[in-house]
């Protein structure tokens, strides 16, 4: 379809959506249109239409966030793409656009407009053009290195300012190489050549980001993949100092929104595969295990192998794998155990559903078994009818279009950026196994005569103690990513978590839960802080718990431990608050169930306050053993 036709088609669909009176339906319509990869003008139209949706409808479906974009270049043309991408990720961004080149002043000068805006997220989009332009081509390598280190040290100062002044999450865009080669291939070697300078700059930036717990938006990587012409346009730079071309606005918005979503724990958690013609070629029920197209020796067989290797890599980085296939269960399982070329093993699949029932219903069952939301699922199926059926039943499940050629499957899935991450810890690499164990626990629970029998049979053990340096990254990740069991929704950077962990007036506890089916790792963090009003009172500032251990009494045992710690510290009372976020309803009765009393008169629709007198606390009976306090 040529661009004119595409624009007219988009226009017609947009008009139909805008004609809807119901704001919620209009928002859903806009989200669907945003999925259809609109062009630059289409994105601007969607953004305008989004601004016209009633705030109540927005609040019901999207999470609001104040996001400041600060840049050394012009960025106004990037904002529509960012807001539209945010909508696709379940957010509504209120955006502050920094003035051209004013990023330092805006962050460092307390009298700027940014102060009033009070950003929750700060995105720094900096250009390397000035730096590279000022560097003599014959500069000594040591001099170049020193200059680059100084540049990044300054950037780190800005990160610190954003965190200190606003407590904001910081995202740093990588430097894009917009320069033409100077020597040619030798640019990779010459210390002061643009290509070498920018590669080194991004390298230093990556180390600094890791140390400071800042997330990167890898525009450099994306522009290298897409080709620099898709990202940089000299004419736009000359006209309006746009370092990112308007044509790349949607892509930049997608990259940025994905990283924000990942920071907030909204990346997809699980990928559900169909089997026939998705993980292998052919229908196993028709051609038998011997007849499957899979493995070395043919290009088609290797394409499916490539798909399985990709799935395996996803599992290794913490994405849960599940299967949902219309097949005889025994035949489908035998393909896993008997086909010699299978890369994926049955044990890689946390939840395996093969039957002849409706796939939408099966997906709901998979989400329930794994105790994750349908909005955490990605569904991969070669059959367009199945994809359409699932999309219609569950719009929150991500269902990518697959090309007809299996050779392109991996690229099609990877391009969607479903599994964006901002950290990677040991817990992530064993998470898939942990979910598989959970699916086994679910089977045990159903078989058990009573809940008590089930819990006793698990032989659970808790390990708890302060958060050590080695656990900082995981604890920070848990605090920032947890949406369901999260009492206050407070978010902390790694540096803040480290400070709280070392603060003698605070108690930061981490809990690990293990049972005979496996070790779930560090699954809960509680931060207790001295109350400003009353030194003998501790306030539960933050309490988060992974959904993997819900319903296993860990909240009871954790409270037993917390009360003991409070008592040892000489505290007489624990106070707590529950801040409804729209996603933490599962713990709406948590404090009441734990014996806290509601503080009447202080509760509001946005916050409930609770209190517990330590002396009157009745320890909760649980089936969890203490493995001892680790210090």
């Amino acid at each position: 379809m040529d661009e004119g036709l595409a624009a007219r088609d988009f226009r017609g669909r947009l008009k139909a959506v805008l004609a809807t009176d119901d704001d919620a339906a209009r928002l859903d319509g806009l989200r669907l249109l945003a999925d259809s990869a609109p062009g630059y003008v289409g994105t601007i139209q969607l953004d305008k239409a989004l601004a016209g949706v009633a705030p109540e409808a927005v609040d019901k479906r999207l999470t609001r966030l104040r996001v400041a974009i600060l840049s050394s270049a012009t960025i106004d043309h990037l904002l529509p793409g960012l807001r539209v991408a945010a909508m696709r990720s379940g957010f509504c961004f209120e955006v502050f656009a920094g003035a051209f080149g004013q990023y330092r002043q805006e962050l460092l000068d307390p009298a700027t407009r940014l102060q009033a805006f009070d950003p929750e997220v700060v995105v720094l989009s900096l250009s390397a053009r000035a730096l590279v332009g000022a560097l003599p081509i014959d500069a000594e390598p040591e001099h170049v290195e020193q200059l680059l280190q100084t540049e990044i040290a300054e950037v780190r100062g800005l990160w610190g300012a954003a965190r200190q002044r606003f407590g904001a999450i910081v995202l740093q865009q990588t430097y894009i190489d917009t320069f033409e080669p100077l020597f040619g291939s030798y640019d990779r070697i010459a210390a002061a050549a643009p290509a070498r300078v920018i590669a080194r700059l991004n390298d230093i930036l990556g180390h600094a980001a890791r140390e400071d717990g800042v997330a990167l938006v890898d525009a450099a990587g994306a522009s290298a993949r897409d080709g620099i012409d898709a990202w940089f346009d000299t004419a736009r730079w000359l006209h309006g100092k746009m370092e990112i071309a308007p044509q790349a606005a949607r892509r930049w918005g997608e990259l940025t929104a994905r990283v924000v979503a990942a920071q907030r724990g909204r990346s997809r958690k699980c990928v559900v595969f169909d089997l026939d013609n998705t993980l292998w070629g052919g229908v196993v029920g028709d051609v038998g295990i011997e007849g499957l197209v899979l493995g070395e020796g043919s290009a088609a067989g290797e394409a499916y192998l490539q798909m399985q290797r990709y799935a395996r890599r996803l599992k290794e980085r913490g994405v849960i794998l599940a299967v949902c296939s219309k097949n005889e269960p025994t035949v489908a399982e035998q393909a896993f155990s008997r086909h010699p070329e299978m890369v994926l093993k049955r044990s890689d699949i946390a939840c395996f559903v093969a039957n002849w029932q409706d796939k939408a219903g099966n997906l709901r069952e998979i989400a329930r078994t794994l105790n994750i939301g349908l909005d955490s699922l990605v569904f991969i199926d070669d059959n367009p009818a199945e994809r359409a059926r699932v999309r219609a039943a569950f719009p929150m499940v991500a269902v990518p279009e697959l090309p007809e050629d299996p050779a392109q499957f991996v690229r099609a899935i990877s391009d969607q950026g479903y599994f964006e991450a901002v950290s990677f810890t040991r817990e992530d690499s064993v998470r898939a196994a942990s979910y598989a164990a959970n699916a086994q626990r679910e089977t045990l629970r159903i078989a058990a005569q009573s809940m008590d029998e089930f819990l006793r049979g698990l032989d659970m053990e808790v390990v708890y103690g302060p958060v050590s340096d080695l656990e900082l990254e995981r604890a920070t990740q848990l605090i920032n990513k947890t949406n369901q069991f999260n009492t206050t929704g407070r978010r902390y950077s790694a540096a803040e978590v480290a400070r709280l962990a070392a603060d003698p007036d605070s108690i930061m506890l981490q809990f690990r839960l293990a049972d005979r089916l496996g070790d779930s790792g560090l699954v809960s963090v509680m931060i207790l802080r001295s109350s400003a009003a009353d030194a003998t009172e501790l306030d539960i500032d933050t309490w988060v718990m992974s959904c993997r251990v819900f319903g296993r009494q860990l909240e009871d045992e954790a409270m037993n431990i917390a009360v003991e710690q409070a008592r040892a510290k000489g505290s007489h009372a624990l106070s707590a608050r529950f801040v409804p976020s729209g996603r933490n309803g599962v713990i709406g009765d948590l404090f009441r169930n734990l014996g806290f009393e509601s503080i009447t008169g202080t509760g509001t629709a946005c916050e409930q306050r609770w209190q517990l007198t330590v002396a009157r606390y009745e320890p909760r009976q649980t089936f969890i053993r203490r493995a001892g306090e680790r210090s």
């Binding site: 004119g4 630059y40 003008v41 139209q45 043309h77 006209h239 309006g240 308007p246 044509q247």
Partner: protein, 80 residues
């Protein structure tokens, strides 16, 4: 593509951009004549027009266009 085709295409692009179906561009239309056609919308218009017609204006032209007719003429020179 005739001059009037190009003019119609420009009208449609600007209507989409500003979400205003009352816009009708003529060869003597100037930017201030169209409500909300500010400098940001102008750059967006150029981007969209270049993309849709598959042409590139040079930077000096983009800086000096006064009327829609001049943009149409510059486009026609490249479409011929």
């Amino acid at each position: 593509m005739s001059e009037s085709d190009v003019l119609a295409t420009f009208t449609r692009i600007l209507r989409d951009l500003l979400m205003d179906d009352s816009i009708v561009l003529k060869t003597d239309t100037r930017r201030p004549d169209v409500p909300n056609w500010d400098s940001f919308a102008y750059v967006s218009f150029i981007v969209a027009a270049e993309g849709e017609l598959g042409i590139r204006f040079n930077v000096a032209e983009v800086e000096s266009f006064e009327t829609v007719g001049e943009i149409v003429a510059a486009a026609m020179a490249r479409l011929r």
